[in-house]
Amino acid sequence: MSVENGNPIYKRVMIIDDTYVDRYVAERNILKYGISSEVISKESAKAGLEYLKSCESNPSLLPELIFLDIRMPEMDGFGFLDEYEKLPEAVKGNCVVMMLSTSLNPEDHERVKGNKYVSRFLNKPLDREKIEILLNN
């Protein structure tokens, strides 16, 4: 799919979410509204981590932004963040993580507060409105 709105902000972003529809919606909107020209779509935290590790020899393949779902089976968003922290600096790069959730649980927000990799929380779906928030910040 091609970007329709001029130059995208990022070269590459990654979305980690166990729900197909949510990945589909996010990817479509990210490409449509000029967030990025490439979206790496992973259906589990583990798959996301594996992709990041595989970029160690070629850091130019790393995403600049990761949209991270919180609630996933096996390893959830928090588990991912714990493992992410252990990755070598080269792999983490200048990446920024945004948590995606339908969660209203204030504890979730608290858990992420101190985390230096997480830039913000976004409520699903990742629709045009949320994208506009991103573009304006």
Partner: protein
């Protein structure tokens, strides 16, 4: 048989082979009973705490699992809406979004109701500024229509205020979210004014809006369970019922003034439960 804790204390202070006179034994038995009761209460309290935690966890889990597919659906419907110019399709998508919104709202209200049924009302210190700002931020994120509404918050809190934090949160969240939901589409500048005046005796809260207002007849019924003004909006009939129940539990009072087409003013009084 004396309570074990009491037995240990007696041994500690008087040694093992003390001869206890009968009258004194009566007193010790009575004290032992009190210790037993205390231990039972402590155990029950800890069970209650566990139950409440489980309830909270259940509520958030269920809330998430019910709302997640709805948000997925909303994402897809919005995409369809944006990528078509067919009037019929647009109409269908609008109707779909309406139904999704109704269901989502109902889930939120039912879960609030569950949370309000927690078994203990533990007074906690409440910082109204923090509480209302959180509520306001959450509401802004949740719905696109909310962005139009100008939310003004005025808090006067000089003394410590204690009450059931969750209950007060539920009440405020409901009132503010209603004010936003029932904004007047004709209005150029829809607003919600939230004023809190917290003294050492009470918190006087006013939530005022310039929304669609409530008819005189409606005003007598809005706090009834499942009463809804119309089917057009996505009201569930649970929100204000829950608000009234919660305020009663807090020993507070609620009052509404409203005029159709002009707006509404909800006034609440909550006693300060500072220990």
């Amino acid at each position: 048989m004396l309570n074990p804790l009491l037995q240990n204390q007696v041994r500690f202070h008087f040694g093992n082979s003390i001869e206890i006179p009968d009258k004194f034994m009566e007193l010790l038995n009575s004290i032992s009973d009190t210790y037993d009761q205390f231990e039972t209460l402590a155990e029950e309290n800890s069970e209650l705490k566990k139950t409440n935690e489980q309830l909270d966890h259940f509520v958030y889990s269920v809330s998430h699992d019910l709302r997640a597919p709805l948000s997925s659906m909303k994402g897809l419907v919005e995409i369809t809406e944006e990528e078509t110019t067919e009037p019929i399709t647009l109409e269908h998508m609008k109707l779909l979004l309406g139904s999704i919104g109704k269901l989502d709202h109902f889930i939120l209200d039912v879960l609030d109701y569950c949370r309000s049924k927690r078994l203990e009302i533990k007074p906690e210190r409440i910082d109204f500024k923090e509480l209302i700002e959180n509520i306001s931020d959450n509401l802004r994120h949740m719905n696109s229509g909310n962005r139009n509404v100008d939310i003004k918050i005025t808090i006067t809190q000089n003394k410590e205020f204690c009450s059931d934090r969750i209950g007060v949160g539920i009440v405020l969240n409901n009132l503010v979210s209603n004010a936003i939901r029932y904004q007047n589409p004709m209005s150029e500048r829809p607003f919600v004014d939230i004023e809190v005046e917290a003294t050492d005796k009470t918190a006087n809260i006013i939530v005022k809006d310039n929304g669609i207002g409530i008819s005189k007849e409606g005003q007598t019924k809005i706090f009834d369970m499942f009463y809804r003004v119309s089917d057009e909006t996505d009201g569930t009939g649970l929100g204000l019922f829950l608000v009234k129940e919660t305020i009663e539990k807090l020993n507070g009072k609620i009052n509404v003034e409203s005029e159709l087409g002009k707006g509404s003013i909800f006034q609440i009084l909550i006693p300060n439960n500072v220990i």
